[in-house]
């Protein structure tokens, strides 16, 4: 069963092809890492999937439903049931940790008790329960990463998209958060699409690695499940 499917997707900006003839199928629970140098089009792939931009040609399906096709977004971003962690995290500075997590849950019209339960559960998983009322600016870089992850996962999305979320962290924090992502994946079983230019990250996080260059898929490699690396922090 395919959860996500790109079929011959192309996208250009100002006449320059950012993504060309991109085809990929993703199974539920897979961890796909899209690896490539800067400007190769890997972020564009995530943004196409999220619905922030429209493919010029080709189609994108999520859960067997066509969401975009040939210059048309058939489903708006909020109708695609995806979670995303941005490179700059994009935590809303005017809202507390609770406010950041609750925003999407309110949009999905969950009751107050359900919202409270979900927020408590996800914050417990990312070990941030005591920061419920904190503002993002009061948190350290690592804590902000955890909140961004929690905000995306609290919605229980069909897939989690991560756009180079670890690129600005020091090596130690980067390693810890990679383990964290794998631990959360083991606990929650979400489908992951992770964009990076770092081979070490791709080796540790991906069950399949999609190598991209100049907007095209160069090759796709399957990796042995790296769950063995998940151990105590």
């Amino acid at each position: 069963m395919k959860l996500i499917e790109f079929q011959s997707v192309s996208k250009s900006y100002n006449g320059r092809l950012a993504v060309e003839d991109f085809s990929l199928s993703v199974e539920p629970g897979e961890r796909i890492v899209i690896l490539g140098p800067s400007g190769c089009g890997k972020t564009t792939v995530l943004r196409l999937l999220a619905g922030f931009i429209t493919p010029d040609t080709g189609s994108i399906s999520i859960g067997n439903e066509l969401v975009a096709r040939d210059g048309q977004n058939l489903r708006q971003p909020e109708e695609r049931d995806l979670g995303m962690v941005f490179q700059d995290l994009a935590l809303w500075p005017h809202l507390s940790v609770k406010g950041n997590l609750e925003f999407g849950l309110r949009a999905r019209k969950l009751s107050a008790s359900d919202r409270k339960q979900r927020i408590h559960e996800i914050l417990r998983l990312v070990e941030m329960t005591e920061y419920l009322k904190a503002r993002p600016t009061e948190l350290s870089g690592g804590q902000q990463q955890r909140v961004a992850l929690a905000r995306a996962l609290v919605l229980q999305p069909k897939a989690l998209l991560m756009d180079e979320p670890l690129s600005n962290l020091d090596e130690e924090l980067n390693r810890r958060l990679r383990k964290e992502i794998l631990r959360l994946h083991q606990a929650l079983g979400f489908t992951l699409l992770f964009v990076t230019h770092d081979r070490e990250e791709s080796a540790e996080l991906g069950t399949r690695v999609v190598f991209m260059r100049s907007g095209r898929i160069e090759r796709i490699e399957s990796q042995p499940s790296p769950t063995a690396v998940v151990g105590p922090n």
Binding site: P77, M84, L89, A90, W92, H94, L155
Partner: protein, 528 residues
């Protein structure tokens, strides 16, 4: 010269041009009042007229602010964030009233709604009598000032929207539609900017005197202006001016205290593009609605002026009676804009790089002077410079240029600071480690990187100097009147055709650089 010295000199210019005159005025007033037992202040507080003036001033400022923020914010969102057709043209159209003296619009509306106006011609004198009664009062003043200051809110909204990193809104769009995203994410993020715009509109409305004088609505600045220019009663004029200065100071102080701390550092990459709201089927309807608003608020009043002025001889007489004033206006505005650019750039650099510890105070001072009513600045300048030893300033156009520097440095410094924000510090640092001196770094590296912003700052400075009436009216030396002043004084005995023609000349002189500005700044956007 060292960086510290040059920046200190720039700050000194602002202090000498703006702060010292105001302090001297307050000092002189309080000293004189002390000897008379504060007769003017006691008289002002005891008279019912003062409270009527205060009530009028507050009503005018509050209603104008509510209207401009209520209309300007959604307008700014539509023009800055949506795929509405012709939004750049509409933005330019809505910005036009800010480029002309507010009383020009009052003249236009008088030509439409007055007893001998267009409405009377088409619909009869009975209806025109009602519309004229409405125009000459709070309603007319609000209409004109809201139209004049609407661009402040619209442009600040557009600028604030373009400063938000797109990922903040994208994160919200993953779960919510645009309405919820705008309400819960976008608006709270730009709220500090909108609040500042509201404070600025409130204070500018509070200090405006040209429109209330023309539309015969008594407010504090009119009282101050009348006491000074008609009776040359310095004590009564400053007594009426000081409450305005006090309110300005207090409001800006509160804004700085409560709102600046809530401003968010919104990260935005150099290549980040604004998310655009797809209006879909509502595009045409919204275009029609905005078109009608622009038609009523901008095109109609200016169109009426054009029609009224297009009589044989109107422009000939306008050139004969106001041509020299027009040339002087443009020359003084160009000199003022150049001075503003120089001082504003250095102040903007200081504020942006926080090169001196007083950067926050400098920012506050420039905004305070900008929002201070023109007559108050003018009375301050007269208090300081009207002495025989300083006649080389007071009796020459230098006093006008000083007034421009006092009143409008905030515009150029904020615009330059905003442009400098996009230059990574590493650009200058790379030249610094290569051993390049600060002055050379500034001229060779920083200035070329922000040249578009500097051009825009010069043009905005030129437009504001050109349209200035409140300050220039009181300080211009004999034989050095500007076109806005000339037009204002000719209103008493000039024909409506002549006044309309003078207004059109002023609009043309102001719009020329605005068109250049529109072609200089071209934002990029993408669809979502």
């Amino acid at each position: 010269m060292s960086r510290r010295l040059v920046l200190t000199l720039a700050v000194s210019v602002v202090v000498v041009a703006g702060l010292v005159p105001v302090l001297v005025m307050v000092g002189q007033s309080l000293a004189a009042e002390f000897h008379t037992g504060f007769a003017y202040y006691r008289g002002l507080l005891a008279s019912g007229r003062a409270w009527t003036l205060a009530g009028h001033s507050l009503a005018l400022s509050s209603i104008t602010t509510l209207l401009t923020v209520g209309i300007g914010t959604p307008l700014g969102i539509l023009l800055g964030k949506s795929d509405l057709p012709l939004r750049r043209s509409l933005l330019l159209l809505f910005a036009i009233p800010m480029a002309i003296p507010p009383y020009v619009l009052a003249v236009s509306w008088f030509n439409i709604l007055g007893r001998g106006g267009t409405l009377a011609h088409w619909l009869g004198p009975a209806l025109a009598s009602h519309s004229s009664d409405w125009l000459f009062g709070l309603g007319g003043c609000v209409l004109v000032l809201a139209t004049t200051f609407l661009p402040i809110v619209v442009l600040i909204t557009v600028a604030q929207l373009s400063s938000i990193g797109p990922s903040y809104e994208e994160a919200a769009r993953l779960t919510s539609g645009w309405t919820s995203t705008l309400w819960h994410v976008t608006l709270p993020l730009i709220a500090p900017g909108i609040s500042l715009a509201a404070v600025v509109v409130f204070l500018l409305s509070l200090g405006e005197f040209g429109v209330p004088i023309f539309l015969r609505f008594d407010v504090f600045p009119v009282e101050s202006f009348a006491q000074f220019s008609a009776f040359y009663n310095f004590g009564a004029a400053t007594a009426a001016a000081l409450p305005l200065g006090l309110v300005t100071f207090l409001l800006l102080f509160l804004e700085a205290l409560f709102l600046r701390s809530r401003s968010y550092a919104l990260r935005r990459g150099p290549d980040a593009q604004t998310m655009v709201i797809a209006l879909k089927s509502r595009r045409t309807l919204l275009l029609v609605v905005l078109g009608i608003i622009a038609l009523v608020l901008v095109v109609l009043p200016l169109g009426v002026l054009i029609v009224r002025s297009s009589t044989a001889g109107a422009f000939h007489e306008a050139i004969a009676r106001g041509g020299a004033s027009l040339v002087r206006s443009m020359a003084y505005a160009a000199a003022g804009a150049t001075g503003l650019l120089l001082i504003g750039f250095l102040c903007g650099y200081l504020i942006q790089t926080r090169a001196l510890p007083l950067w926050r105070k400098l920012d506050f001072l420039t905004v305070f002077l900008f929002t201070l009513p023109g007559p108050v600045i003018a009375i301050g300048l007269i208090s300081l410079w009207n002495r025989s030893v300083t006649s080389f300033v007071y009796a020459t156009p230098a006093i006008i240029i000083l007034g421009y520097l006092a009143q409008y440095t905030a515009l150029s410094s904020r615009m330059c600071a905003s442009a400098l924000e996009h230059v990574p510090p590493s650009m200058e640092e790379a030249a610094q480690v290569a051993g390049v001196h600060w002055g050379r770094r500034l001229v060779g590296i920083v200035v070329p990187l922000v040249r578009k912003g500097l051009v825009a700052a010069w043009i905005v400075g030129y437009v504001f100097c050109l349209r200035d009436t409140g300050m220039t009216m009181l300080v211009y030396p004999p034989g050095h009147d500007t076109l806005p002043v000339r037009t204002f004084t000719l209103m008493a005995n000039g024909t409506p055709e002549l006044i309309a023609a003078l207004c059109i000349l002023m609009v043309a002189a102001a719009l020329l650089p605005l068109v250049i500005l529109a072609t200089t700044l071209r934002p990029t956007a993408r669809m979502a």
